[in-house]
């Protein structure tokens, strides 16, 4: 398979996965640089500020030609995984990961790519309507859709566990659409 064909396949899969989204990169997502910690779309301001400071001091600070200014990644606030959305919601009867989650998933994938020891569990859920076993399978489809998008952004399959709780663990009790909508979800948790 030529790399052109590979790229086409990846792109068309992305289009399929993210509904009718375009595959242009979101220009608001900060581009990772060598001297900064990876940033996420959620935490834009704080980290970019730090990143810029780091960059500028490296560029202008120190008079000796061989000066090296260390950047201590351990002191920088952790890749705000805590700022990333932990839940992906789905439309009724759907396993399509909506466009609004694409950037977050891309960041999760980068997190996993950076640290091959990191594992992520994706737990798929459904609303309460319908049979338990069929809903377990639907929840599994949702978890796997998120897992697939992570893989396309570079996460290794071994780092991602897609499981389902079907309708067994509703986030919200209730038998109306607002409750159902909050239960049709996939939750991402570190394992």
């Amino acid at each position: 398979m030529t790399s052109m064909k590979q790229a086409l396949i990846v792109m068309s899969t992305l289009v399929l996965l993210f509904g009718c989204s375009s595959t242009k990169l979101d220009s608001d997502v900060p581009v990772e640089t060598r001297s900064t910690a990876a940033t996420s779309s959620g935490s834009g301001a704080a980290n970019s500020g730090q990143a810029l400071a780091g960059t500028s001091s490296a560029a202008t600070g120190g008079t000796a030609q061989s000066a090296v200014t260390p950047v201590d990644l351990t002191k920088v606030s952790p890749v705000v995984a805590s700022n990333l959305p932990r839940v992906v919601y789905f439309d009724f009867d759907s396993y399509v990961v909506r466009e609004e989650y694409r950037a977050a998933i891309e960041t999760y994938a980068k997190l996993l790519a950076q640290d091959r020891n990191k594992r992520l569990a994706i737990e798929g859920h459904t609303d309460e309507r319908g049979g338990r076993e069929y809903n377990l399978a639907l929840g599994q489809k949702r978890a796997e859709a998120v897992a697939k998008s992570l893989a396309l952004f570079g996460a290794k399959e071994a780092q991602v566990d897609a499981v389902s709780f079907g309708k067994e663990r509703p986030a919200v009790q209730g038998s109306d659409e607002s409750a159902w909508a909050k239960n049709r979800r996939a939750e991402l948790t570190s394992r």
Binding site: E133, V163, R169
Partner: protein, 422 residues
């Protein structure tokens, strides 16, 4: 066999059981042919702590084949009942007995059955049982009577398993077929679903979420010993036993999606059964062991299909609704009970597998689930929702006689009827 009177019964009969029973049984419905039977209080049954005669009467009524006649008479198995008196009370059959405490702490339970119409003794038994087996003794008496008078084996001494949810905990319980005498087999903080009895009644397979994912276990009922049957990557669920008890079908997501696999009862010898891009789940073996029924949405929405294990053709068998799931097959292989969605209602239906008849709704409730046949094929147990609670019900195959097994505390769901031979 006894001549039977045609009798139509309207309304419901509330049968009260001793206070410590977990379930009260409410029986309702109009039966076409019900044999009127008088079950008198067994002499000294009160001293045993169990209303033996009430258990027998409730069993017989729940079967749909009998109507209990109120009988306030002091008889026991040695009596010589005056038949004209019982005929005038419109009874076709009469049961009397006694319960005597033995020196070693066991109880001697005796009974006799009479055909009132012909004025004949039909038989009786005497059994010494442990105190813990008094309920079982009553159920065995009901089985004897059922078989003597209808010619068909009774299912009253069989057991059911079901799941309760309450107070943030889940339990898997095993109880008598009338819902009483429930014992906890598994107590968990996480959900338990899809219990399935082994054909010999010694083990139950189920899905537990205790490890934060769906894993299939097999547990010995008597000892509580359990083993993991399937814990592959992703979700493992929907265990179903082959009729010879050596193989189970399960739904696994190990290769992506939800597909059907077979494995041995020890969890070895994994073979993939379906290979579709769809969801394939809820496998159920045909009673002859050669075929499998299952749910698939390969046609767009969940429907029930059947396939032969030896071949690869898959045949769809449900068409009347856009959503049909949870198949259960009668022991003679002729009837399927399942759940279909109509509008917003999930309802219990039966389908004649031998002909081209239309499916028949058995209930008018809207949240039915999990049907399971009694081993004599004459009753179906299922779960439904009533007054905001999940409850267990039994119904005759024509839907006419229903019994509600009420739980006073927790939600009850996922019932499954065990085999003969306790």
């Amino acid at each position: 066999m006894l001549r039977r009177r045609e009798f139509a019964l309207a309304g419901s009969a509330l049968v009260a059981l001793p206070a410590r029973a977990q379930f009260r049984i409410e029986i309702s419905g109009v039966g076409a042919t019900q044999l009127p039977i008088a079950v008198t209080r067994f002499r000294d049954e009160d001293k045993s702590g169990h209303a033996i005669s009430a258990i027998v009467r409730a069993d017989l009524e729940r079967s749909g084949a009998f109507r209990g006649i109120d009988a306030d008479a002091a008889l026991d198995e040695t009596a010589r009942p005056v038949m004209t008196e019982w005929r005038s009370r419109a009874a076709d059959a009469l049961v009397a007995g006694s319960v005597a405490r033995l020196a070693d702490g066991r109880f001697d339970v005796r009974f006799k059955l009479w055909d009132v119409v012909q004025g004949l003794e039909l038989g009786g038994r005497s059994n010494a049982v442990e105190a813990d087996d008094l309920r079982l003794a009553a159920h065995r008496i009901a089985d004897f009577i059922h078989e003597k008078l209808t010619g068909e084996k009774g299912v009253f001494s069989t057991r059911i398993a079901y799941v309760t949810r309450g107070g943030g905990r889940y339990t898997l319980r095993v109880a008598d077929a009338d819902g009483d005498g429930g014992q906890v087999a598994l107590n968990s903080a996480e959900s338990i679903i899809s219990p399935a009895w082994s054909p010999d009644g010694r083990e139950i397979a189920y899905v537990s979420f205790e490890s934060q994912k769906a894993v299939v276990y097999v547990q010995e009922v008597a000892s509580g010993r359990r083993r993991v049957l399937a814990n592959f990557r992703g979700s493992n669920s929907a265990p179903a036993w082959s009729p010879d008890g050596q193989t189970l079908a399960v739904t696994l997501s190990r290769d992506g999606g939800s597909q059907l696999y077979l494995l041995s009862r020890e969890g070895n010898n994994l073979r993939r059964l379906t290979n579709s891009p769809a969801i394939d789940t809820e496998p159920v073996f045909a009673p002859d062991g050669r075929g499998l029924y299952f749910v698939s949405d390969r046609g767009g929405t969940p429907q029930i299909y059947r396939t032969l294990l030896s071949g690869s053709t898959v045949e769809r068998i449900t068409f009347a609704s856009s959503y049909s799931i949870s198949p259960a097959i009668s022991p003679d292989g002729r009837t399927m009970a399942y759940i279909s969605r109509l509008g917003n209602d999930f309802r219990l239906y039966t389908l004649d597998l031998t002909g081209n008849a239309q499916p028949v709704a058995l209930t008018d409730t809207s949240d039915d689930e999990s049907p399971s046949f009694a081993p004599n094929g004459r009753l179906i147990i299922y779960a439904t929702r009533a007054q905001g609670r999940d409850v267990l019900m039994t119904t005759t195959l024509d839907g006419k006689i229903k019994a509600r097994l009420l739980s006073s505390t927790a939600d009850v769901r996922e019932p499954v009827w065990g085999p003969y031979g306790r």
